[in-house]
Every structure is written in C-alpha cells, then in structure tokens.
Amino acid sequence: MSISTRNVSKRFGAFTALDDVSIDIESGSLTALVGPSGSGKSTLLRVIAGLDVADAGTVRIDEHDATHLPPQRRGVGFVFQHYAPFKHLTVYENVAFGLRVRKTPRSDVRARVAELLDLVHLEKFASRYPSQLSGGQRQRMALARALAVRPRVLLLDEPFGALDAQVRHELRLWLRRLHDEMHVTTVIVTHDQEEAMEVADEIVVLRDGRVQQVGSPDDVYDCPANDWVMSFLGPVTEFDGQLVRPHELELTTVPDDDALAAWVVRVTRVGFETRVEVDVDGKPVYAQLARDAAHLLRLAPGARVYLRHASGRAARDTPKVR
C-alpha cells in the first residue's frame, strides 16, 4: 500500500514544522525519515497517521485521499517512541485491543494474538502487565499490537530511541527481518542516520521542515544533494576546497605531486579505526585509516605526511564548499 503526500505544510504557532513536503513511498518498502530534532520528521509521520492535521496539502494512502480521514479509519499501524502501552491491560489484552474494538469473535482473537506473540517472542509474557516488561519487550508488544489488525501501512516514530544501544541494534535488525517476511509498507522516523542506513530501502532526509534528498542509502551517502546532507549522514572534512569523507583521503609519508603536504597534529585510535588530525596550510583536516595501515606509517604528532583524495571515487557535483 503506497503512501504519498503533496505540498504538505504545518505550523505550530510561529514555528514551521513542515514546508511544502511532497514524497512518495512505494508499496512494500521500508522507508526512513531522517533528520535532526525539529526537522519535521515526526510531524510528517503524525500527519500521515492522522494524529495531526496539515494546514495545507494532501495525504494519499493506497491511492485514496486520506487527508481528512480520522486516524481510526486510515488503516495505519503506529508504534510510539515510548511504546504507549495500555498500562491497565495485560500484554495479551494490549495486543487484542484492536481486534476487540472491531468485535472480532473471541476464538479468532485468541488465535491472532497467539500468532503475534509468537512472532515477537513474547508468548510467555501474555498475562504480564507492561510495567513488568523491559523496554525492548514493551516495544515488541507495541509492534505486535499494531500489527494485530493487519494495517496497510506501519509507521514507527523513533521506535528504538528510548532503548540501550545494544537492544536498539538487535531490534533494528529484527525489524528489518520482520519487514522482509511481512512486506508491509513501513515508514520509520529516526534521528540516527546509521540506523536509517542499516535498515531502510529508501531514505528521506529532512531539515527544517523541507525535504533535502530522497534516495537509497548508497545514493544519499555517496551522492549527497548538498553539504548539509553530506555532513548529516556521515563524517566530513574539508580538503582542497571540497567537502570529502575522511576515509576517502589517502595518507603517505612519501612526497607526491598530486598530494598536499601536511603536518600530523594528533593521532587517535578508536576501535579498529585510526583518526588522524593533520594541519594543511594552517587548516585542520581529518583523515581516517584502518588501524594496521596507520601503524605501518608510524604516524606521530609532528610527522610530515602527504594527503590525496582517493581516486576512483565519484566526486560530488558541487565543487565548492558553501
């Protein structure tokens, strides 16, 4: 079930949350809305869900104009950042909620809930209350609850934001696998670009309520539409008048006509990377090497090195740094 928005705008008082946003989300895809706080990504999601009403523009869900439909009738599944569990109901009753509202016969409810609890590995927790679950378990319950009524579209608003890094990573991969099995059109909002890149088929980058770029993870990373997108999605450093990725810089101790001379300022080892800060004509440049490579070069503060932007990489369209 596809989703599309046309010219959606939304303001909260003097603050513009969305400014003429038009996107298309393909049926069955997993799309990530990425951007910093205040970029409008959550607002866009809520407008799609019907939780907020746009000031202007239209929302279409599966070719039907859903702009004025209340959230009850949009066939949308939603997962909140803080799970929004029904505190007064057990896990079973939480997941069964949507089915009960639709007056589904009890045996069907039982079957469907069992199926979902199995899917999210919470079968043993059916009669527990949300307060007795961990954060990750609550989020899986929230997902099961949303999926119970077979939504046409699944929307997730920073679903892993409130969880530990480890749990976040596990759930992220689990969500991707789930999507691969179920093929429900999914839209996930996140401020974590790494999460978006790892999980999504398509990425929509937002800033200050406007769409900056839409594309696959590779597209947006390798061919960013502008400097801001480039620096948001990954590390950047300014080299020779261009914005480049630190790991695309080649470092040698041998003088080279193509390369610029520099002095090493600082060498930092983080995990398997070595980050080298060098001084090129008074300006700082950051390069990133594999640990072994750096070790071979015997880099130390004060050493003389030569920098070159790695060949074979597609250069960005805009040559100058803004």
């Binding site: 909140f80 929004a84 505190k87 007064h88 949507g98 509202v101």
Partner: protein
C-alpha cells in the same frame, strides 16, 4: 513524571525521641479521645450500645444519612471526573478562577456553606426555589462540601495520563467514546475511588452545613451528626458514643474496602 530523588531512610539520631514525641502528641490529641469514644460506647454493655444505635430516631437518622451520602458520592464521581476533565483538557477565559474556587468548600466554614446555600435555595431565595427542610437540602449541602474531593484526586492523574495511549487506541480503531471508556476511565478509576472514599467519609459526618439547611426534623431530615449532637446536649453520652463509634466504623470499613480495591485496580 515526578522525579523522586529517593533517599534511603535511616534510623538517624533523634529518631527515637521524635517518634516518641509524635506518638505522644497523636495519642493525647487523637488516639486517646477516639478510644474513649469506643470505650464509652460499650460502657453499658454491647447490647445497650446496639440498642442506642438502633433506637427508632437514631436508626432513621443513620439510614437516611447513609443513603444520601451514597447518592451524593455517586454524583460526585461523575461530576468530579467531568470537572477534572474540563479543567485539564479544556481552556477558556476564567479557568484559573474556577481552579481556585473548586477548593472553596475545603476552606469555607461549614456554617457559612450552610448559610450560603440557605440564602439561595431557602425561604428567602430570589429564585423562588425553596428546598429548606427537605432531604434534597441535605443532598445539596453534602454536594457542596464534598465537591473538591473527586476533582482533586482525579485531576493530577488525568494530567499525567499518557496522551499517546489515547492516540494508540484511536489508531487501533477505537472511536472517541471507546477511547474514553476503554483507556481513559480505567486508568482514572483508582483516583476516582480514592476521591469517592474521601467524599463519603466527609459526607456521613457532616454537621454545620446540613443542620442549617435541613431543619433537622426528626425521622425526616435529621442526619446522624445532628442526632449525636442532641444526644450530647441531652446528657446521653453513651448513646452519642455508640452512634459515633458506628459512624467511625462505617467510615473505616469503606476506606479500607476502597483502598483494597484500588490496590487491585491500579497497575503500572
């Protein structure tokens, strides 16, 4: 969300003396006197005490007091929740003044409450509504003095309620009414019960406002508190003590029952 920076409780220095002094104060002021009431009640034997409570006039007063108090409490649960809802979810000019006035029955002397209601709904009413000397008057007085209880217990819970829960319910297909019925009210229930218990306890013991408005007609509009007062005045302390013990017992039972039910009803 309340940020409780919880400190470990210790038995620090001075605790023993403090507890001793606090216990002494409470004993002299509260425990001993209340104990004396219970003791006095049975000083002529339990059968005599029961006889005092079930004598025609006191018994009529008790039945009537309980009946009106139950009705008033039920009304309060509805109106109190409604008012709390409007105060939390709605905004209008003068809302802050209303917020303030809700607490007025707490701070206003009961006799002033009675006088105030008497002037508007009594013989000199400019609206020509005269319900003085009726049971309705008792209900009215009790509604006045118990107004804040449910509102003030429900309001903070409503304010802290996770709005996303309601959104989630709507997205799962629940209509506005279904959201209130299935999600909001169940989460408010413990607070509503607490408020109801407090209101009921206050209602059965009310004196000042009721005595002014109801005329205290025996077997008709005489509440228990008034009957007890008359027993004291006519030098029947045992009868007064027996009825008082009855009222205390009822209040205790109701509060306990609601407390237990509330503990079961509140989770998370």
């Amino acid at each position: 969300m309340s940020r409780r920076r919880n400190s470990a409780r210790r038995a620090g220095q001075g605790t023993g003396i403090g507890v001793g002094l606090a216990t002494l104060y409470l004993s002299l002021l509260v425990l001993l006197p209340l104990g004396a009431v219970a003791w006095k009640a049975q000083s002529g034997g339990l059968a005599h005490a029961w006889g005092q409570v079930t004598a025609p006039q006191p018994w009529a007063a008790l039945k009537m007091t309980l009946a009106v108090s139950v009705v008033v409490t039920l009304i309060n649960v509805i109106t109190g929740t409604l008012i709390a809802w409007v105060l939390v979810r709605d905004d209008f000019a003068g809302k802050r003044a209303v917020e303030l006035l809700i607490d007025l029955p707490f701070a206003l002397p009961t006799i002033v409450a009675g006088l105030v209601l008497l002037s508007l709904y009594g013989p000199t009413s400019p609206l020509h509504v005269d319900i003085a000397f009726t049971r309705l008057a008792i209900g009215l007085a009790l509604l006045f003095v118990t107004l804040p209880f449910v509102v003030r217990t429900v309001q903070p819970v409503l304010m802290e309620l996770d709005r996303d829960m309601e959104s989630a319910a709507a997205l799962l297909g629940a209509s506005g009414l279904a959201v209130v019925r299935r999600v909001v009210l169940p989460n408010l229930l413990p607070a509503m019960l607490t408020g109801a218990g407090l209101a009921f306890g206050r209602a059965i013991g009310e004196f000042g406002s009721v005595s002014l408005l109801s005329g205290n007609l025996p077997f008709h509009t005489e509440v228990s508190a008034v009957n007890i007062y008359n027993q004291i005045q006519s030098d029947n302390p045992v009868g007064a003590a027996a009825q008082s013990t009855m009222l205390l017992a009822i209040a205790a039972v109701v509060l306990l029952a609601l407390g237990l039910y509330r503990r079961r009803a509140s989770r998370g």
